[in-house]
């Protein structure tokens, strides 16, 4: 627009002020995007997971075993195509800070159940199934600790006492976001044979013939075992994952509140800056009006100035957030895998920038528009 040089000239009149204000907006929107992304990442984690697989756990609490005898009964439920089971191992690798998932599962049926979610070379799969003390690990985990195929890995058991050594016979690549590449899986038999009277499946995974059968299957299973000594809680895999997200509690409310406070604080900085600039230019407003610039035009010029700062800051701050997290693989120590700024967050951030432009520019723009040229010319700052 032909008036842009005028707007630009005003912005560069006080370069430092413009730069500081723009940076403040950038910082605020960066923070906003980061906080919001905590929420979106958590929510995304809750939406991951197959709708045609179901998890059967103990209704008493997840830490309780379910009888092995349930396997046959679950297979017999109409709609259930396949069944596998696993136990959480929760081992520590050298240092408690090295956290990754480790669990014991029934090898063949488990690998079959999740076959659409990962790739594993056929020979590695065979080697793993054949060897009792073998384990498979995710590619990411392998790289993280510099392990190699065929290497022995020793974990200290927390739930199952002692040191447990496994040989890596397979390295898998996840093809679905629901499947973590930071996990180690070994034979269920290993824990079972150590504690035959005690260890049973921690949870069962079922494959449905048709995802729409999920509600009936869940109802059928849970009512069948309701009054037994091991009642069950059955739900889709997706619902199961969502359950973990709710364990964070009031996080969303906290993040939103802080986000609001941040945005408001920066609004003040931007509005203050616009106000300071406006006050110093009262005289000029008078001159421009004398030359014939209309009230409306002056209103627009001030708003353009405010918008440039707000949108410039938005691009900087939102852009930095977008560029920072995903490429560096930030995941908040594993609590927030796949942390990324979504398009929705970016849109919201831009929306805030627009509101910022309006809020910070409106009063000075209105004042400039309403100012009588005569009064403005008489004004001495």
């Amino acid at each position: 627009m032909k008036f842009f040089p005028l707007v630009w000239a005003n912005l560069t009149r006080h370069k430092r002020r413009t730069v500081l204000t723009t940076l403040s907006v950038a910082l605020a929107l960066f923070l906003f995007a980061s906080l919001r992304s905590v929420l979106t990442t958590l929510r995304a984690g809750a939406e991951v997971g197959s709708e045609s697989r179901m998890i059967v756990q103990s209704a008493k609490a997840i830490v309780f075993f379910l009888p092995m005898s349930y396997r046959e009964r679950l297979l017999a439920v109409p709609g259930v195509q396949a069944v596998t089971w696993a136990d959480w191992f929760g081992g520590v690798y050298q240092d408690p800070k090295n956290f990754f998932a480790s669990f014991a599962a029934d090898p063949e049926s488990y690998l079959d159940m999740y076959r659409s979610d990962f790739t594993l070379p056929a020979d590695q799969r065979a080697a793993f199934i054949k060897e009792r003390t073998a384990c498979i690990v995710g590619q990411h985990l392998l790289e993280k600790y510099g392990w190699k195929l065929g290497q022995n890995v020793t974990l200290q058991g927390t739930i199952f006492q002692g040191d447990w050594t496994f040989t890596i016979r397979g390295v898998y690549h996840a093809t679905s976001p629901a499947f973590s590449e930071d996990a180690l899986m070994f034979h269920y038999e290993m824990v079972y044979e150590r504690y035959p009277g005690w260890v049973q499946p921690g949870w069962y995974v079922l494959q449905l013939k048709d995802p729409s059968l999920a509600p009936q299957v869940a109802a059928a299973i849970d009512s069948e075992f309701k009054n037994s000594s091991d009642p069950t809680k059955t739900g889709t895999e997706r619902a199961f994952n969502a359950g973990f997200v709710t364990m964070w509690g009031n996080v969303s409310f906290l993040m939103d509140s802080i986000g609001m406070a941040v945005v408001f604080a920066i609004l003040l900085v931007a509005a203050n800056s616009m106000m300071l600039s406006a006050r110093e230019r009262t005289n000029e407003v008078g001159v421009l009006k004398t030359v014939g610039f209309s009230d409306r035009l002056l209103f627009g010029l001030v708003m353009a100035e405010a918008s440039t700062i707000a949108l410039g800051g938005a691009v900087l701050g939102l852009g930095a957030a977008k560029a920072l997290y995903r490429p560096t693989g930030f995941s908040a120590m594993g609590f927030l895998p796949g942390f990324d700024v979504t398009a929705g967050t970016l849109a919201l951030g831009l929306g805030i920038a627009v509101v910022l432009a309006l809020a910070s520019g409106l009063v000075p723009a209105w004042t400039a528009a309403r100012l009588s040229a005569v009064a403005a010319l008489r004004h001495v700052e």
Partner: protein
């Protein structure tokens, strides 16, 4: 300071809107700062208070939380025979074997079930684990299907009122009463009698044995004896240290968030203060000239403007404290990943945190005001008069 502060205060008042905006910006930063620290502190207090230095908890070797531990009845009896254990008034050792299991309980809001720690205890536990008091109803009667619920968690559960029947581990239990525990993590638990709970939960095995030392200094001896005993295979921890370490990850996260968030906000607020002060200096060049002509030294000018910025920030800081104080005591909850169950705790604002907030505001004022003040002090008289 040679130039009276009243000059600065009045100058600030001459630009009321700009000054107010800057102060409120600082107030928001300080407010968020205090809130986040109060959150982290509340969580820490809840866990730290849960332990005493003269209590010891014994877990199975290698277990990193009560959750994954298991101690047989026989072993519990062996532990109870330890000479370092204090003796109660009735001559019995102050030992509390306990069951610890996270259990699914129906939430008050009707959503997903909440995982809440259920702790099986003996009556002795109330002596060993300090600070536990019944605040509503009565304690459970041994031999009956009764439980008591911690005051922090009771409001979040369905059927948790005194006299209700609550479903736990597949059975119905009478809620005999509610208990408080000095704001510690126990307040987020459900307690019942071992003998009643064991059959319903994990069978005839305890998760933890807690006991009181005759003398806190005896800890090392007791630890040695227990850990060297070939029959046992256990680890002994000081109760206070143990629970403190349990919260480490979450506390680190909260601390990081506090620094990250308020750090960024502070930079923004400081920028605002810088803008305000530079504008103030620019508009008062003739005043500065007069002061210099009268004989005030440049460093007095610097001190004066620095004081102005700091005063403004301080006002903001005090405002931020005022706004943040009411959050003290607000209860929130999250999952303690070590026990895998919900822990309810409250924001705790302390005088120390408030002082920190005020100090923070002063730092922001000094940092924001320095360069503008320096520019004011370096202004050549001739230019200033123009």
């Amino acid at each position: 300071m040679k130039i009276p502060l009243i000059y600065n205060v009045r100058s600030l008042a001459r630009r009321p809107v700009s000054s107010a905006m800057t102060a409120v910006g600082v107030a928001l930063v300080v407010g968020v700062f205090i809130a986040m620290l109060a959150l982290a502190n509340g969580f820490k207090v809840a866990l730290v208070r849960t332990g005493a230095p003269d209590n010891v908890i014994v877990l199975r070797k290698g277990a990193d939380s009560e959750l994954s531990s298991g101690i047989s009845r026989d072993n519990a009896a062996i532990i109870a025979a330890l000479p370092e254990i204090a003796v109660a008034a009735d001559g019995q050792p102050l030992v509390s074997p306990e069951v610890f299991v996270p259990t699914n309980l129906e939430a008050a809001s009707g959503g997903d079930a909440q995982l809440v720690v259920t702790r099986g205890v003996t009556t002795r536990a109330f002596e060993v684990r300090r600070g536990v008091h019944i605040v509503a109803g009565r304690n459970f009667i041994p031999g009956r299907d009764e439980i008591i619920i911690g005051s922090a968690i009771a409001p979040r559960l369905a059927h948790s009122a005194v006299g209700d029947t609550i479903r736990l581990a597949g059975r119905g239990w009478l809620v005999a009463g509610h208990f408080s525990a000095g704001g510690s993590a126990f307040e987020s638990e459900v307690w019942g009698e071992n003998e009643q709970l064991m059959p319903a939960l994990r069978g005839q095995v305890y998760q933890v044995v807690a006991f009181r030392l005759r003398d806190p200094a005896l800890f090392d001896e007791a630890k040695q004896t227990l850990e060297k005993d070939p029959r046992l295979q256990v680890d002994a921890h000081r109760e206070s240290e143990f629970y403190a370490s349990q919260s480490l990850v979450l506390r680190q996260i909260l601390d990081f968030l506090a620094v990250f968030i308020t750090g960024i906000m502070a930079v923004g607020a400081v920028f605002g203060a810088v803008n305000t002060m530079y504008a103030a200096v620019a508009s008062r060049t003739s005043e500065i000239a007069v002061l210099l002509t009268l004989g005030f030294k440049p460093r007095s000018i610097l001190a004066s403007f620095l004081a102005e910025a700091t005063f403004l920030a301080l006002v903001g800081g005090l405002l931020g404290c005022l706004v943040a104080i009411p959050i003290n005591g607000i209860v929130t909850s999250t999952t303690n990943w070590s026990s895998f169950s919900m822990i309810a705790f409250s924001f705790r604002v302390t005088p120390g945190i408030l002082a920190g907030g005020v100090l923070f505001s002063i730092v922001m004022g000094v940092v924001g005001g320095f360069f503008p003040a320096r520019r004011a002090s370096r202004m050549p008289v001739v230019q200033a008069i123009r």
